[in-house]
């Protein structure tokens, strides 16, 4: 197992170099002079030259890539053109907000999707099965930014139950320690803040989690149906075991591999979806920051943000692969 993990980590190196190369090329594929593009039409020649110099754009391309990659290894992603702060600092301030939102969305997707899929499979062709699969199909076809708008309209504008945007209400006091506000409020035993943070998380988590929920429910259903047809399930039933034990102990365990794969793949959907959800809910995370940076043509931030998302995605996929072993002892790692 350890040697498998080491091998997988080594195999990641060319992928990460490739990802870094693609991200590096973002600035160099911009038509025209990237420094001019970043600073805009009205920039002076001196300002443009200064930016070219500070970003090393006057060096040959391969030297630029080597210094970009060296910087990457030491955590230096350059400086934001907008704020002049190191990009990594800007990302590390905002990423916890994205992580918190993605995590809550995934809990919602898994918490509803897997039970719904199991129930649909064990009640195949029932009204619930047909209805839930139809809803899942509509869920997959729904743009999350539209769902976000509809949730805001219904629950914030019409009913006034939940806040429409941001992470914390004005006037609620909370010290930022980890920047994951649910955790911060628990650490400080500040239950008013906890309730406020939680209420802010509900709508964006539902919006972000709906597509993964639909996909997880569909995959759980099909995977369970496949397993429930196997001989060992018939044997389990013929031994007189209860439904609950056959479904949860015998079938679900065996149906879990494709479910875990799809849950892992949905993390990428969540990261991509975070860009849209954060824009709709004015959520101060990395996704919104990235979109703002594109509007401002702040390319070092665009590079850093995309690189960060891609590396997070690659690492989650690795974790998913490794987690197979914990669930399915039949898988041998060589």
């Amino acid at each position: 197992m350890t040697s498998y993990i080491i091998k997988r980590l080594i195999a990641l190196i060319p992928v990460i170099i490739g990802v870094a190369l693609v991200v590096f090329l973002i600035i160099h594929l911009i038509p025209g002079d990237p420094a001019q593009t970043m600073l805009g039409e009205r920039a002076t020649v001196e300002a443009i030259e200064q930016l070219r110099e500070s970003m090393g754009l006057n060096e040959p391309l391969y030297i630029q890539f080597i210094s970009f990659f060296k910087g990457l290894l030491s955590g230096d992603l350059g400086r934001s053109v907008m704020s002049n702060n190191p990009v990594l600092n800007e990302i590390s301030v905002r990423f916890p907000a994205t992580l918190e939102l993605s995590f809550c969305a995934m809990i919602f997707a898994v918490g509803v999707g897997i039970p719904a899929g199991i129930f649909a499979a064990t009640h195949q062709n029932s009204f619930f099965d047909n209805a839930s699969m139809l809803i899942a199909l509509v869920g997959v076809s729904m743009p999350i930014f539209w769902l976000g708008l509809m949730l805001i309209w219904l629950f914030a504008v019409i009913l006034g139950w939940l806040p429409p945007s941001s992470r914390l209400s004005v006037g609620v006091e909370l010290d930022y320690i980890t920047n994951i506000l649910l955790v911060d409020s628990i650490i400080q035993l500040n239950w008013d803040a906890f309730k406020d943070v939680f209420s802010h998380l509900i709508l964006p988590s539902v919006a972000l989690g709906t597509i993964p929920l639909a996909i997880i429910a569909r995959m759980t259903r099909s995977s369970m149906l496949e397993v429930l047809k196997q001989d060992y399930i018939r044997t389990a039933y013929s031994k007189g075991l209860q439904d609950r034990i056959v479904v949860y102990k015998h079938a679900l365990k065996n149906a879990f591999i494709p479910i875990i794969t799809v849950v892992g793949l949905q993390f990428g959907v969540l990261l991509g979806g975070a860009v849209l959800t954060e824009t709709i809910f004015s959520w101060p995370g990395l996704g919104k920051y990235l979109v703002d940076a594109i509007y401002a043509r702040d390319f070092p931030v665009v590079q850093g943000g995309i690189l960060f998302f891609a590396i997070a995605f690659v690492l989650v996929n690795l974790l998913v692969d490794i987690s197979y072993a914990a669930i399915d002892p039949r898988i041998e790692y060589k």
Binding site: M142, P143, M150, V291
Partner: protein, 290 residues
């Protein structure tokens, strides 16, 4: 079974698949949705009650009425007319970007699968790197480079979908390139091009058709997302995603501005998803009920 019946019995698997599709309720529903969408797109000038770009500042945010069935937006434009014309853009985006992905992906997949070795290693590593990015983020990066335009958004969506097609064709090519009938064709002097187009490609056709249909659905969603972020279609183009860009600020005052373009997106995407599911059942009967 009489001789007549035996004679009439079709032996073509595509004919069988077509029959199964026409018996499949999900697939038929998908065909109906897409049929309506194509009809609306073709006859948009005849169906739309107003010019989709005509502004009327005095008639801003009018609620749905007999005059404007789906209301008007912040510029007083008729939302129904904009949605009707928007169907042309969504279909165009779906077909154009998936064509890019299909042609490039099939070419790369065949090259990697049939020739193997260096080409396989090079092409599949590039595909791995592309798959290392969450799809919409890669599209955002490409549009950030090329500039926010609908044409660039279509190109970006085409590029991000290439790996899916390349993988399907490659695995199909690898699985059959050592088959006896391929060896026989080679021994008879068939050229690589002939083997690729007459033997390898037809074998990958079923999964390719399913993937193409499902990818059109995803492409419409992705294009709407890019336009919503201001990175795709630019104002005043009546693109469904772009129509939602300013809808957030008017949710309280005019919720219909946000509601109807979203429903149009769901209708279009659902049509292709339903057809994709139906085709999967029809082309791969083993998967039915799973």
């Amino acid at each position: 079974m009489t001789n007549e019946e035996i004679k009439r019995r079709p032996s073509n698997p595509w004919y069988e698949a077509g029959r199964r599709l026409l018996k499949n309720r999900i697939g038929l529903l998908g065909i109906a949705f897409i049929g309506i969408l194509v009809f609306i797109a073709i006859f948009a000038p005849l169906i739309a009650p107003y010019d989709p770009l005509a502004q009327n500042i005095m008639g801003r945010y009018k609620a749905p009425s007999s005059e404007h069935l789906l209301g008007t937006d912040e510029m007083g434009r008729d939302i129904l007319s904009r949605i009707i014309y928007g169907s042309r853009i969504s279909l165009q985006v779906g077909l154009f970007s998936v064509s890019i992905a299909l042609v490039t992906g099939v070419f790369l997949g065949l090259l990697a699968g049939y020739y193997g070795g260096f080409w396989d290693m090079l092409i599949m590593r590039i595909m791995d790197i592309m798959l290392a990015f969450p799809a919409i983020l890669l599209a955002i990066a490409i549009v950030a480079i090329l500039g926010p335009q609908l044409r660039n958004a279509m190109l970006a969506i085409g590029i991000i979908n290439i790996p899916r097609f390349a993988r399907i064709v490659r695995s199909s090519a690898i699985s059959i390139k050592e088959s006896e009938y391929i060896l026989a064709a080679k021994m008879m002097g068939a050229s690589d091009v002939r083997i690729i187009f007459f033997h390898l490609l037809p074998n990958a056709m079923a999964p390719l058709i399913v993937q193409t249909t499902l990818s059109i659905a995803t492409a419409i969603l992705e294009a709407a997302a890019l336009s919503f972020l201001g990175l795709g279609a630019q104002p005043p183009t009546p693109e469904w995603g772009a129509m939602l860009t300013d809808a957030r600020s008017s949710l309280q005052q005019a919720p219909w501005v946000a509601t109807f373009p979203g429903l149009a997106i769901i209708f279009g995407v659902l049509g292709f998803n339903l057809l994709g599911d139906g085709l999967r059942d029809a082309l791969d009967p083993k998967m039915k009920n799973v």
